[in-house]
């Protein structure tokens, strides 16, 4: 697939990646997953409806399936892979595990990114603010109950740490 191919660079998780031999129509989601070896971001609807592909682009939570990769050359992109490495989970990630917010786990990376983004903007969100912030992330397994618990726990752990 060499037609219309271009070489361009993307800045992902603080690192510059050269994207070669690609088709310019590729979405950011496709390039992250298939070309940059960053499969943590998931795809499930290709229409920006489910939030599985949520990444942070220039400080905004976006659906990477709706962004053409080649238009993101001047942007700072952060994916789920940037949040933690090894055993050191973030408060949000840890709470997802301990409160039962993970079942099949397919929506989880997108939700974790969306919630990290929410808490970076609003460290003590109300119940309705939490629901609104993640209403663009569909979870088919949990019915959201344990996810709400996880957010509450992450917020309280963060508060305890900062006080």
């Amino acid at each position: 697939m060499n037609s219309n191919s271009e070489i361009y660079s993307l800045t992902v998780n603080g690192k510059t990646h050269e994207v070669r031999d690609s088709w310019v129509g590729e979405s950011l989601l496709y390039v992250l997953r298939e070309r940059l070896d960053l499969p943590g971001t998931k795809g499930a609807c290709e229409q920006g409806e489910c939030g599985s592909c949520t990444v942070i682009m220039d400080g905004q939570a976006v659906c990477s399936c709706l962004v053409m990769a080649a238009t993101a050359i001047d942007s700072e992109i952060r994916t789920v892979e940037s949040l933690s490495v090894g055993d050191s989970l973030t408060e949000v990630q840890d709470a997802f595990v301990t409160e039962g917010g993970v079942q099949c786990g397919f929506c989880t990376p997108g939700l974790v990114v969306a919630i990290e983004h929410l808490l970076s903007q609003n460290p003590d969100p109300s119940e309705i603010e939490i629901k609104e912030a993640i209403s663009g992330n569909i979870c088919r397994c949990t019915g959201y109950g344990r996810i709400f618990e996880a957010v509450d726990k992450a917020v309280s752990v963060r508060k305890a740490k900062s006080s």
């Binding site: 590729e26 943590g40 409806e49 990630q93 786990g105 397919f106 019915g143 109950g145």
Partner: protein, 756 residues
Amino acid sequence: MSSTTQTTTRRDVLGASALRPDGAAKVQGRFEFSSDLHAENMLWGATLRSPHPYARLVSIDLSAAYKIVGVVAIITAEDVPGKKTYGLISSDQPVFAQDFVRYVGEPIAAVAADHPETCRRALAAIKVEYEVLSPLTDAELAIQPATPPIHPDGNVIRRQQIITGDQDLQGEIIVEGTYEIGMQDQAFLGLEAALALPDSDGKGIEMHVATQWLHEDQKQIAACLDLPAERIRLTLGGVGGAFGAREDISLQVHCALLALRTSRPIKMQYSREESFYGHVHRHPAKIFIRHHAKRNGEIQRIEAKMVFDGGAYASTSSAVLINGVTHIQGPYRCPNATVVGYAVRTNNPPCGAMRGFGVVQACYAHESQMDKLAAACGLSPVEIRLRNAMVTGDKLITGQVIESVAPVARCIRETDAIALPAPLAKTAHPLEIVGGSGLTSLPHNIVRGIGWGVSIKNLMYSEKFDDFATARCQLKDGVATLKYATVEVGQGFVVLAPQIARSVLGVDEVVLDTVDTGIGSAGSTSASRQTWMSGGAVDGACRLVRQRLFEHVGKKYNIDPLRLVIEDTDVVDMIGDFRISVIEASTGVLIDETFEHHHRPTEELDENGQGNCHVAFAFVAHRAVVDVDVELGLVKVIQIATAQDVGRVLNPIAALGQIEGGIAQGLGLAVMEEIVLDKGKMRNPSFTDYLLPTALDAPSVVAVMIEEPEPQAPLGAKGIGEPPCISVTPAIAAAIRNATGRELPRVPVRPQDICF
């Protein structure tokens, strides 16, 4: 290819909220779903599908597609070396269409190419000539003998009646209705995906795939490829939810064929739209039902006619039908019954397994009836259900005696005891008000309603099927290693299995081996069966290992092994002072045992629907509270109260997650989710148009788990996966009726059903 081996060392035994060993990988994005798999030199596969619901296939011209640079292979029905058809119960579904296409989305060809975009262009370049035929899309018309068959096997997949007791009895009170259930999609998030790696001799395949039942896939793939089953080696690729939709084959055979044809690894992955076409859905159903009762509300007889639209191919329709007709009485005593059910073939999309499997449809009908009966008898919804609630020892309309623990009345009472939510506050945030942030609902149009639903659900497979499960346990140096082919779809067997091993063996460290076909079948992750069946197999294997460990310790220390027990992490003499840690006791020895768990045998139904066809049953009650904007027809589900018969809670957080998750899916069927068909064509195969519950739609769930251990169950625990999604749908519909006074004989309830 990384192994899916997982190790956990937390001392979490049965009953504790042990943590998922795959949790950290999933929150970090490290967990490998089947769509994340890659191989060197890999090609992409894609499927060409029929745009017509019914047509004769005249010709296929691949020449233009082959000219596209990057296209490596294109295969059609001619390239299937073995059986040209497949299917779970009857093999009636073509791998690729041969003479006819029978539904929109039926596979016609598959292409392998260097890039998904090349695949897309190649599919667009394949020229297919069709002779378009008039589709059969009316399930009731399909039953008529005069209707021409759309498949060599005929249009009626199965007819089953249940005839018992007095066939002429007329009750003092008679209520009836015709109820419809729309077509629901499982809508798992992790789309169908597989990676097939051909063996170098071209006579075998290694496949990594997201499925519900590895050994069934293996059997069906082998038959289509005309290869021995042992040459089709399946490993579970990470599964992003299933809910029934992965019980049937989707891309497996296509992917394997392309790998063998190209001698290169093939990755196939559906888009969301293709996923809607590529897997079966919940059967839409139409159910007429009439209850005869005494004036005091006691049910005396039911009459019912049930029609399940199976779509173009059989899938599990015959089993779904049996669940429907055998559960139409609900969790209520009923001595006389006249029931007939049909599962039929149409040119609609094929339907098969979805969580609740035939019982969801039956429950919507019988629970709608219970409220009519209550009204006719002057009783409350709770009173009518308590008056008829079945107990252990009662006989079902099939003649089968309920031997399971049956706390139906307790489910109802404990649900009833849950506090109702506070009235809608005047100061409520717009997002808490029906209609949401658009501020479309005026306070004086909002009416609150309360409704009930109670259900019975069979556990495991039925009608003589021996859906056994296999597990192997090895103990060495204090570490237990478990091997099984039990598919983890998110339900949590991955956390339960180590809990069982820790409880039985007193070990801390449990290693979970790769889930693949390198051991006997575990059966399907469906029918609320894996805790019971694979849990029973793991428990059995661990118990065999424990016995051998006691024999080893007994011999070494000269103690009668029968005196030894596990206490925490030690082997202890019940009578004497001897105590040794399990780690020390198992150092330097390898104990290796495999166990198959079989449930008790069941029977087929006879021509009158009589027979002990089910293994066991679980029960649940739901009470829904909704706010309805009666002018705009909008609904917000405020609270679901539930008490569920779970037998025994093995992991409280995991159990609660199943309950809340099932409720959300039942809510979806009640007010949001439907695949809309127009002459066999799906109108909404996308997440933009097929609406799923979001965090803002999630009600407050108050759940009570009723623990009355089930004597038949190896761990005392009943399956808990399906019951949560069954009676919540009629409970929500009943609450909307309560608020609006409308009959609402159809789910999902749409705005126009409420306000016009």
